[in-house]
Symmetry: C2
Subunit: 335 residues, 2 copies
Amino acid sequence: MATIRDVSKLAGVSVATVSRVINKNGYVNETTKNSVLNAIKALNYKPSSIARSLAGMKTSTIALLVSDILNPFFPEISHAIESEAIKQGYSVILCNSDNNAEKEAEYIKILKEKRIDGIMIASYTIQAEQIKKLQEEGIPVVVLDREFPGHNVLTLMCKNREGASMAVQHLIDQGCKKIGHISGPLDVYAARERAIGYEEVTNKNNIYTPGLIVPGGFSIDGGYRALLELYAKYPDIDGVFAGNDLMGIGAIKALYDSNLYVPKNIKVIGFDDIDLSKTFMPELSTIKQPIYEMSKMALHYLMKQINNEDIVLTSYAYEVELLPRESTKKLEKEA
Amino acid sequence: MATIRDVSKLAGVSVATVSRVINKNGYVNETTKNSVLNAIKALNYKPSSIARSLAGMKTSTIALLVSDILNPFFPEISHAIESEAIKQGYSVILCNSDNNAEKEAEYIKILKEKRIDGIMIASYTIQAEQIKKLQEEGIPVVVLDREFPGHNVLTLMCKNREGASMAVQHLIDQGCKKIGHISGPLDVYAARERAIGYEEVTNKNNIYTPGLIVPGGFSIDGGYRALLELYAKYPDIDGVFAGNDLMGIGAIKALYDSNLYVPKNIKVIGFDDIDLSKTFMPELSTIKQPIYEMSKMALHYLMKQINNEDIVLTSYAYEVELLPRESTKKLEKEA
DNA sequence: AGTTTATATCTAACCGGTTACATATTAATA
DNA sequence: TATTAATATGTAACCGGTTAGATATAAACT
């Protein structure tokens, strides 16, 4: 593999000149530039990012830490982050914590050693303490879909509580009288907020019952099991607000396997608007959060921190949107 | 950020000794070792992988190049590769080409500059020529789910043709008389092989009609559109073999939207056995390919190349398995 | 003509590790 | 006791870039 010194020798100039040509900075004579360019081509020279990082004190690499790459929500984030990052000349190391705190800690250690320029966190297992440590070591951090009240971190999320309220209100509008909630892990901020939104609206309508909240771990399987549990306890349930689309899909599947149909017997609404929700049958009503937009802005703010522009480390909540689809349709005979 | 020299100073030893302690090689006195360890802790020292890579000529990083991270098939591969890689102390840069040849070429350039130790390719846009170039530059390569006959590359795939035959035979066994095929992009090896498997079995049963093959681009949308096209041309179709599960799901959706039901009116079988296929309603019959196992072995062979163990650069095809589910069920009244 | 400014290039230190080689001490063997 | 081997540690070159500072020439300005 050719080095910058090989190039400089072949072109008959110093390494500094070669460096200037490569980075298009400083003065370089047109003729000199061409002979350097020719030497580069002749040797098939590719500058080593490793050496460049060591000398330049930046890696042009960020990390994206996710909970579970098998959950379609995260590939959507990953896709957005990566697309935007590459536009700015950054590449992304994807770290899948698999919802495992130890694996996550191991990753964080590796990332520090790799001297990545910043880290984007979309993981439910991470603790505020770990984020604080990263920041103390000078590593820019942005957090997606979480909130750490009382900590100086930039976090982006959607209006979870409001969205949940919209979802439950929609079920009520569609005629539901007894509405269950399949929640995410309640130690996760977004899941908690959504549960609160559910509580608020059911309370206001005098249909709140604590037992109607069952956790479903944000997964299809969890949603499936949660629905069965819910239905066993309350066979007269007629609406379900699932804390995310995956659990909504799991719930619909469980109903189907129990010979109950959506929306005929029970109406179901999810949250997120992952791609799959409008492909599923029946199409899943949901609360859309602007995943691409949020991710894009998250990256934007991460870059600002990396470039030492000072920004306020606070949290932003994005608007959500109700997307009524088949799974909450009011059938004619009900009307 | 503390450096190895800071540590050596604090511990009162040379950098070589510190290096020996960190890497657990060479002779180090127990007492010395402890004082070094203490210094490391006191300074919160984390060795720089950058410097280490530059000096040691390896990055402990591999790249995974995928076609489309939004297609669940690829997160499953990604999950497997990443899980196995981290066990061996390697991290993975995930590169999503988005089915865009230019973006892919750009990534390959970046990866060369990053001096990654090896590259795992699961992308449909890559050309044999590019792989050859990578190899000539000494970069170990393993390819998943493709084949490049006549090229010396290690490729892992499943028995695509055989699986396709099994799928079509299964449809026939379930009573289908007119079977369509929604294919992947026919310039992709796996898609072509599956189409050939389809042709072989339909031919043998004298039900082959060229017009019954329609391309669906390996996506849900593509499958949806392909089915509509197929059905418009051949309204008497009673079975569909989709070249992957996503297209199978798209096809079922299209049928549903046309008031046709699966398996009642038409039976559908997919290929891959992605997680979603058994959650979908109806559950999608499919040909299971051992994604985790294949990916794991792919990584295994990549590591062998990285470690300069010589292996035969050839292609391996994994066994597939028919998973009959609801979408191809023979209903009682049909029997 | 003398001074300033813009252009062009080079030398060498530096980034933070690894490692070959030299050196010193102690233990084992002849 | 002399010699060899094992243990322990240090020095300094090297990996391949970047960049500050030195130097030199040509053009522009007093």
